[in-house]
């Protein structure tokens, strides 16, 4: 049987490992195994490798004077930024935090954890196009607010948020401002100093590094209380032996992303536009999100009366992989809270798919995939009872569990 053509359209979930990363990693899986804390030559080599990678990641996000602490990924970086700010505020139970309604679960659920510690949390809404309004943030601020957290670009819609405007509010009020930059780093030209945030999280595998490595930029590391003890690594800010292969991978991916940013942006935008055009060309289909203030690689489409999981499964068999916004939690399907926050009905949210491209997706791939999406949506609409979308029977296992810890 001939090898099936595969078209990967879920780069916001994870990106393929960049060829430069794969090449650079060879020695780190064989002969270059030193611990950066060790005093002998092998250790010092590893220490230099980590330093070079740190420099590359700082360059990617425009950090010239702050610190960048390596973590296990974006989730840990966001947890550190939020919990670290909480502990630095002496764990004051009457504190207050502001987040947006479209934050990633690692921010939302960390904020929920803060609530259980006695902190008040205000969730500010977004517009129908998925943007946080700075005046909503301004209205939410209180004298006891110690942290505002708003993402740079949304993972589902790609909508870019008005970070500089929000930063000017928090700066004036003396409040820490954390930005989850996981989706933006490597896809947009990022300058954390111009943005004016106090902390900014990044994730390596979103731009071609390995999974399991990320970083947290800090304008002033002393603004946080560090929550992981047991080692002096990362200047004492994040204890634990450094993930040297992961960090080296992140550095190489950052170099490539910065070097190719202009070309990749132009290419991704052209490829993405093929999918944007589906909103005009397919009946009962519309774009979710902002038409302009959006990552150059992301299209979120609502294909009314065609449920996203059926589209995803139909395309998967054809070798086309795209994302859905819904998640399954113990026998119930939940519509995307991001799309719900933008005013979509449950049914419209269940019928929305996310297409996120990368440099390796060609225009020909996009045309092929767009045709397959059109056919799949037409078929699914024909056989689907609209009232069944998003429903799940009491005795229906629905999702097949393939792994449990």
């Amino acid at each position: 049987m001939s090898e099936q053509r595969r078209i990967y359209l879920d780069h916001n979930a994870t990106a393929p490992v960049h060829p430069d990363v794969a090449t650079a990693l060879g020695p780190f899986l064989t002969t270059r195994y030193g611990n950066p804390s060790a005093p002998y030559m092998a250790g010092q080599e590893a220490k230099r490798d980590v330093a070079a990678a740190r420099c590359a990641v700082k360059n990617l996000i425009g950090c010239t004077s702050g610190s960048l602490v390596f973590t296990s990924g974006g989730t840990e970086a966001n947890n550190l930024a939020i919990k670290g700010a909480f502990f630095a505020a002496n764990g004051r139970p009457k504190g207050h935090v502001v987040i947006s309604a479209i934050e990633h679960p690692c921010v939302r659920e960390t904020a929920a954890w803060l609530e259980r510690q006695g902190v008040s949390v205000t969730t500010v809404p977004v517009t129908r196009q998925g943007q946080v309004r700075p005046d909503s943030v301004a209205k939410a601020l209180r004298p006891e607010t110690f942290l505002v957290a708003v993402m740079h670009a949304n993972n589902e819609t790609g909508v870019v948020q008005p970070i500089e405007e929000i930063a000017s509010l928090t700066r004036d009020a003396g409040i820490l401002f954390h930005v989850d930059g996981v989706q933006a780093a490597g896809k947009l030209a990022v300058d954390v100093e111009a943005l004016g945030c106090d902390s900014y999280s990044v994730s390596g595998h979103k731009f071609g590094a390995l999974k399991g490595v990320g970083g947290l930029y800090l304008r002033d590391p002393s603004s946080l209380e560090w929550i992981q003890q047991g080692g002096h690594q990362e200047g004492g800010y994040r204890a634990g032996t450094e993930n040297v292969p992961g960090i080296v991978a992140m550095g190489k991916a950052a170099e490539a992303a910065l070097r190719d940013l202009e070309a990749n942006t132009a290419h991704c935008r052209a490829v993405r536009d093929v999918f944007d055009r589906l909103a005009a060309n397919m009946p009962m289909t519309r774009l979710n999100g902002h038409p302009e203030a959006r990552l150059p690689n992301t299209t979120n489409l609502c294909c009314l009366y065609a449920d996203a999981m059926s589209i995803c499964m139909a395309l998967s068999i054809e070798g086309v992989f795209l994302g859905t916004g819904s998640a399954c939690a113990s026998h119930t399907q939940e519509p995307s809270y991001v799309l719900r926050a933008m005013g979509l009905s449950d049914q419209a949210a269940y019928c929305s798919v996310r297409i996120s491209v990368g440099p390796s997706v060609s225009l020909d791939d996009a045309e092929f995939a767009a045709e397959r999406i059109t056919q799949a949506v037409e078929t699914i609409r024909l056989v689907t009872a609209p009232e069944d979308i998003g429903t799940c029977g009491d005795d229906c296992p629905c999702f097949i569990e393939t792994d449990t810890p």
């Binding site: 449920d307 999981m309 059926s310 995803c312 499964m313 139909a314 998967s316 068999i317 054809e318 399907q333 078929t379 699914i380 024909l382 056989v383 689907t384 009872a385 069944d388 979308i389 429903t391 799940c392 029977g393 005795d395 229906c396 296992p397 629905c398 999702f399 097949i400």
Partner: protein, 94 residues
């Protein structure tokens, strides 16, 4: 398979859930409603064949190797229309 014959493949749980039973019933009614041969084959999620289709959500229905429904009970009327459309397109090319 005969070029003009069609096949519904139902990927279901073991034991089948209520929805899997409902889908099987709808597929049988659909097959009875058309004037050409359509086979129904049921397999469980534990099979290698089900895994080869990347089945994640059940019940999953494939028609001639293409997934047309996942996690829901498809409508008989729509299935009949789809079958007739595919059958006539195939007849045109023979």
């Amino acid at each position: 398979m005969d070029r003009m014959a069609h096949e519904f493949l139902l990927i279901r749980n073991d034991p089948p859930c209520k929805k899997c039973h409902q889908v099987e019933d709808v597929l049988r009614e659909t097959v009875d409603a058309v004037a050409f041969d359509v086979e129904i084959r049921c397999i469980t999620t534990a099979t290698e064949e089900a895994r080869s289709y990347g089945a994640l959500l059940t019940p999953m229905v494939l028609l001639d190797g293409k997934s047309i429904s996942a996690g829901m009970v498809p409508r008989k009327g729509g299935l009949v229309k789809l079958l007739e459309k595919i059958h006539s397109e195939q007849a045109d090319t023979v």
